[in-house]
Structures are given as structure tokens and as C-alpha cells.
């Protein structure tokens, strides 16, 4: 079985986010980057499936060279080889097009992604890739087993879970508890050094979106206490100040 795992290179969840270049870019100074946490689950399940069923795990990142430590980490965790599409990942459509292009050349049985990136949080790349390849995609998937050429999986839905099966090939957006989070071991880190990491140039895709500007969420204001008798004042404030009514 050939598995492709798509990983993002994202700021650590505890990083303090600020912007640069007139609020059009993330200020990367002092920020530690990590593999997207949902992508980590996808990777962990891929490695488990490989251990159970044999096959190969390839990791793919659309991003610049600065993301290579994260790719090496994925190799240390157990992927066999890696591909980096050498481009700044500017929008979901662009990223999905690159992933689909790689997938078309390689006939993967399974394409595992995270349910969403943790910077843009769009949660659309898996859907787009499925559409581009003409194969089904499901998200968020929290349980996945493979029996022969059939995937049996469960999806988180409003108020419950949905149990499904479908024939391979498939695209999944994964989330916990699909697998135990894995940390690499020393031997894995050392062998990752010599595993192949192929860098390819992106295919041309029209820019579908331009990021004009980022803003921080408004700082938490002071808490105003309004006595019970002043319900009217509360309503007015909710209308005029908080603008939520």
C-alpha cells in the first residue's frame, strides 16, 4: 500500500503571533515551527498502517526550505521518503493543486492529511485534492482501518459519529484519536538523515486569492458589570458597543 501524508509547517501552538511588512506577512523571528498537530495524527496512523499492512509512507510538504527540519522529523517518525514542493504556500487552491499534481504521478492508495492547518484553519485542502483527483474525500476522520482494498472509518459529525466504508483510493482529513501521537526515537532521527528528500518545483497555478492584511484579535476589554435592574442599559450596550445584537 502506498500512503501519502501531507504535512504543514506551522507556528508552534504557544507561539506569540505578530505580523511584518505592513501586516501582510507573519513575523517569523523567534518563532518555532512544528508539524501541524492534525497532520501529526495523520502521519502517526500512516506509520501504524504501514507497520500492519506493509507498504510505503511518503510525506509531502508544499513550502520553502525552512520547513525541512519538520520533514526530517516526519522521516524520523517513520516515513520512508519525502517530497517538498518548493513554493510559498499562499492559498489553499494553490496548495491543493500542487498536492494533486504529485498524487497524479504516483498512484497512492491513501492520501492522509490533517483535518485543518492550524494557521489558516481552512480545512479545505483535502476536499479540493479529492475533487481534483476525482476520488472521494472525508473529514474529520477519527478512526481508520484498512481491510484489503477497503477503508473502514469513522467521522465526527454533529452530536455523534458516522461509521463508513469505501474502496481505495481515498483522501482523508484526520484528527485525534485516530492514532497515538508519535515521537521519533534516536535511531529514527539518525536514519532520517539518509532517507530521500526530493525537492520539486511547483506547477503553475493562477493565484486565486491574495492576502491583503492580517489583524490580531481585539484585546480583551475590561469587564463591565451591569446591575440586574439595568437590563435596558445592557441591551443598549450590546447593540451599540458590542454590536452583537
Amino acid at each position: 500500500m502506498k500512503i501519502l501524508v501531507c504535512i504543514t509547517n506551522v507556528p508552534d501552538t504557544t507561539a506569540k503571533i505578530t505580523f511584518a511588512e505592513s501586516d501582510t506577512k507573519l513575523n517569523k523571528t523567534g518563532i518555532q515551527f512544528i508539524i501541524g498537530p492534525y497532520d501529526d495524527y495523520a502521519l502517526a496512523r500512516a506509520v501504524e498502517l504501514k507497520e500492519q499492512n506493509g507498504g510505503t509512507v511518503t510525506v509531502l510538504n508544499v513550502g520553502e526550505a525552512e520547513g525541512e527540519p519538520q520533514i526530517r522529523k516526519a522521516l524520523a517518525i517513520g516515513a520512508d521518503d519525502a517530497i517538498r514542493v518548493n513554493a510559498e504556500p499562499t492559498d489553499s487552491y494553490f496548495v491543493a493543486s500542487q498536492i494533486a499534481h504529485i498524487a497524479q504521478q504516483n498512484n497512492y492508495d491513501l492520501i492522509l492529511m490533517g483535518r485543518e492547518s492550524i494557521d489558516f484553519n481552512s480545512g479545505v485542502v483535502h476536499g479540493l485534492v479529492g475533487e481534483m483527483l476525482g476520488i472521494p474525500s472525508f473529514s474529520p476522520v477519527m478512526k481508520l482501518d484498512i481491510e484489503g482494498s477497503t477503508a473502514k472509518f469513522a467521522r465526527e459529525i454533529d452530536g455523534g459519529k458516522e461509521y463508513m466504508e469505501a474502496p481505495l483510493p481515498l483522501v482523508f482529513g484526520c484528527q485525534e484519536p485516530i492514532a497515538d501521537w508519535k515521537i521519533p526515537n534516536m535511531r529514527g532521527i539518525m536514519t532520517a538523515r539518509t532517507k530521500p528528500l526530493q525537492v520539486v518545483e511547483p506547477v503553475a497555478v493562477d493565484d486565486m486569492a491574495i492576502n491583503e492584511k492580517y489583524t490580531q484579535p481585539a484585546a480583551k476589554g475590561e469587564c463591565k458589570m451591569i446591575p440586574v435592574e439595568d437590563v435596558e442599559k445592557l441591551v443598549t450596550l450590546l447593540r451599540t458597543e458590542a454590536k452583537v445584537l
Binding site: T14, P69, R72, I183, P184, N185, M186, R187, G188, M190
Partner: protein
């Protein structure tokens, strides 16, 4: 996030070293930190962690992969010690003993058969080892050791005892240093179960309570001839092992110091007295500023020593300086940090008191604070002042 890497030592590391550090930190946060207080209070060794240490690969990380090692460099080994000692010095001691004092001598002085037989199983944590040098009457002066063996044709007959041995009560294997009939020090691999070999535990320690410490007692133990380390002759062999372990300790102590420092910074920001966080008072700031300065100096010392070690150029005296300075630094930071936490500092709610008590062993074992001073003094003047 509290920044305890003030001079960006991080940028001096390779991607691989950084990944190793992150990995072991994650391991410590997940597997070590949450259970240390409980095990320390009960003075119990968390046996289940031995296998987990093996899985993550921190045993024998510098040895080649063919023997189950990680094939990594000495800065990586230092970072492993640092990240584990953020959790507890007792756990770092387990890793130091297994890696530097058991696996390393077998690798360095052992026969091919010994390496094949023991190293892979020590690397996975299937076997746990101990290192017996210190004796009841010979601590700082191991050259006086009395434990000895005689050649009985088919086997060696070992007699004597070792004291203060980390892991002894639970270890499957002991690397034992003893005199041969000519009075030269050699290394023997003594396995649990050999007749006449016992390992009584030392109880009621106030320090390193998560690590089991005990004696190794040899009463007419018949040791197979295959268990003699063929390439170790003289006291320099165990002293070389100690150089490796002490090097790791110099990094490890930084981990304990960082954990104390970060705890103190967090607490100083939260604890309100006289209507302000105590971190707003100059005296608290002085403590924190000095802690960070000392941690930074220690990091630079160990990092540079690591570079020298990787190049095979680190001397015993250089290692003594780093071990002595960094452990003393960590102990002082633990004491200051404990004060920042006031009464809370003495409880098990916070790790500081445990680190502080642990470091009282660390400052004594692997050469006491004063002995390292004398090693430096001898290096400077050319005149040993030990005797």
C-alpha cells in the same frame, strides 16, 4: 513561554541536535514529569520507564547503530541529559549510568562477543546495568580499592564489596572494577543470579529518591572468564568512563536549573503580595536575573565542552570544571528558586525542593565538588594536592 535559552544556544545546534532535544523534552514532559513527585515521595524507582527510555533511544545514544546505539554526537548526548534532568536527576542518573558507565565501557573495553551479547539488550532497556567503583572505605580515593579477584583456571573468584551504587538493587548486570592478582584494576561483568552476589538496597535517602541505590557484595563469586573486559587495564579505564558521565552531568544539571528557574519565573508573575506580583520587587528580579545569567554561562561552558568532546579533545580537567561549576550553579539556583516560592517552595506541588535534594547527590557523586577543584588545581600547578 519563558525563554531559558537567552543567548540562543539553539542556533549553535544542528537540525538533528535540535530535533533530539525537542524529542527528549516531549518525552520528559509526557512520561517523566507527571509521575516524578509521586515516585519520589514513595522513594520508588519507576521501573517501567527503563523500557520507554530504550524505545526513545536514550541509552547508548553515542554508540554505533550495529550495537543498538543511536550513532549521535556528544552534544546530542548532553542535550538528552539536560532534557531528562528537567524532569528529575534520578532519571538522568539512570541514563548516565546505563550509557556512560555500562554500555560505554563494554563498547570501549569489551570483546566482540561481549558487545554483541550485552549492548543491544542494554540499548532497548531489556537489561539494566550498574557501575561498581566506590567502596565503603574508598570513595574519593578509588585507587585504594580492596575488591579483588583470583584466577582459578576455569573462572575468576571475586571477593569484596561496592557501596553507593546507582541501580544496584534492580540491575541485571554490574560492571565491577576490581584488582587482579598483580594488583592492577580490571573490569568484570557480574550478572544477577551468580552465586554469592547480592545487592542490598540503601534506604532512607533524602536525595535521588526516584533512583535505587545500593551495595554490590561479592562473596566467593565465580565469574566466567568470558566476563572479563579484555581491553581495560588500570584505574584509567574506569576514570575514562567517569569522564563521559561527568560530561553528561554538566549538561544535566542545567536541566534541573532551568526547571527551577522557569518555575520561579512563573510563580513570581502570579503570586501577589503588597498588591503586586512578587516579580515586581527588585529583590525578586535580582534573583531571577542572576539565575538566568548563571544558566547562560553554564550552557556556553557545556556547549563548548561538547564541541571539544566531539573533536576528541576534551580533557579531564576541562570536564571537571564544567561538572563542578554547573552542578554548583544548579544547586544555588534551586535554593534561590525555593525562596522565591516562599512556603510553597517546600511542598511537592512544585519540583524545586526535589531538584534541590537531588542535586546534593549530584554534587557529591562522580567526583565531589572539592575533588574537582583539586583536579583543576593539579592541572594548573602541576602539583596534585590530593594526598
Amino acid at each position: 513561554m519563558i525563554n531559558s535559552d537567552f543567548y540562543r544556544i539553539d542556533e549553535l545546534l544542528t537540525d538533528e541536535q535540535r530535533l533530539i532535544q525537542q524529542t527528549v523534552r516531549e518525552f520528559t514532559d509526557r512520561e517523566v514529569k507527571p509521575i516524578m513527585e509521586d515516585y519520589a515521595q514513595r522513594a520508588e524507582f519507576p521501573r517501567h520507564l527503563v523500557r520507554k527510555f530504550g524505545e526513545v533511544g536514550v541509552f547508548g545514544s553515542t554508540l554505533p547503530a550495529e550495537y543498538g546505539g543511536g550513532g549521535s554526537d556528544y552534544i546530542s548526548y548532553g542535550l538528552i541529559c539536560q532534557e531528562i534532568e528537567r524532569g528529575d536527576s534520578g532519571m538522568r542518573s539512570t541514563v548516565s549510568v546505563q550509557s556512560s558507565l555500562v554500555m560505554w565501557p563494554i563498547y570501549q573495553f569489551g570483546s566482540d562477543e561481549q558487545k554483541q551479547k550485552y549492548l543491544p539488550r542494554l540499548a532497548t532497556g531489556e537489561l539494566l546495568g550498574s557501575f561498581g567503583l566506590t567502596e565503603p572505605d574508598f570513595g574519593s580515593n578509588p585507587a585504594g580499592m580492596k575488591t579483588h579477584f583470583t584466577d582459578e583456571g576455569d573462572y575468576y573468584l571475586l571477593n569484596g564489596s561496592k557501596m553507593w551504587i546507582s541501580n544496584s538493587p534492580i540491575a541485571d548486570l554490574a560492571v565491577v572494577w576490581a584488582r587482579n592478582e598483580q594488583g592492577r584494576v580490571q573490569g568484570l561483568l557480574v550478572e544477577r543470579g551468580m552465586e554469592g552476589f547480592t545487592t542490598p538496597e540503601i534506604h532512607n535517602k533524602w536525595s535521588l529518591r526516584t533512583s535505587a541505590t545500593g551495595e554490590l557484595v561479592f562473596d566467593q563469586v565465580k565469574v566466567p572468564k568470558d566476563n572479563l573486559l579484555p581491553h581495560a587495564m588500570g584505574l584509567t579505564a574506569p576514570l575514562q568512563c567517569l569522564d563521559n558521565a561527568r560530561y553528561g552531568i554538566s549538561w544535566g544539571a542545567i536541566g534541573a536549573a532551568i526547571d527551577c528557574y522557569e518555575t520561579a519565573v512563573r510563580y513570581a508573575g502570579e503570586r501577589i503580595q503588597f498588591d503586586k506580583p512578587i516579580g515586581a520587587f527588585q529583590l525578586t528580579q535580582k534573583k531571577l536575573a542572576e539565575m538566568l545569567t548563571e544558566i547562560t554561562k553554564a550552557q556556553l561552558l557545556s556547549w563548548r565542552l561538547g564541541v571539544l568532546k566531539n573533536e576528541g579533545r576534551a580533557t579531564t580537567a576541562q570536564i571537571s570544571m564544567a561538572k563542578r561549576n554547573n552542578v554548583d550553579m544548579a544547586l544555588n539556583i534551586a535554593r534561590e528558586a525555593r525562596q522565591v516560592l516562599g512556603g510553597m517552595g517546600i511542598t511537592g506541588e512544585y519540583p524545586i525542593m526535589r531538584h534541590m535534594m537531588n542535586l546534593e547527590s549530584v554534587i557529591t557523586y562522580e567526583g565531589t565538588h572539592d575533588i574537582h577543584l583539586l583536579i583543576l588545581g593539579a592541572d594548573i600547578t602541576g602539583i596534585p594536592a590530593f594526598k
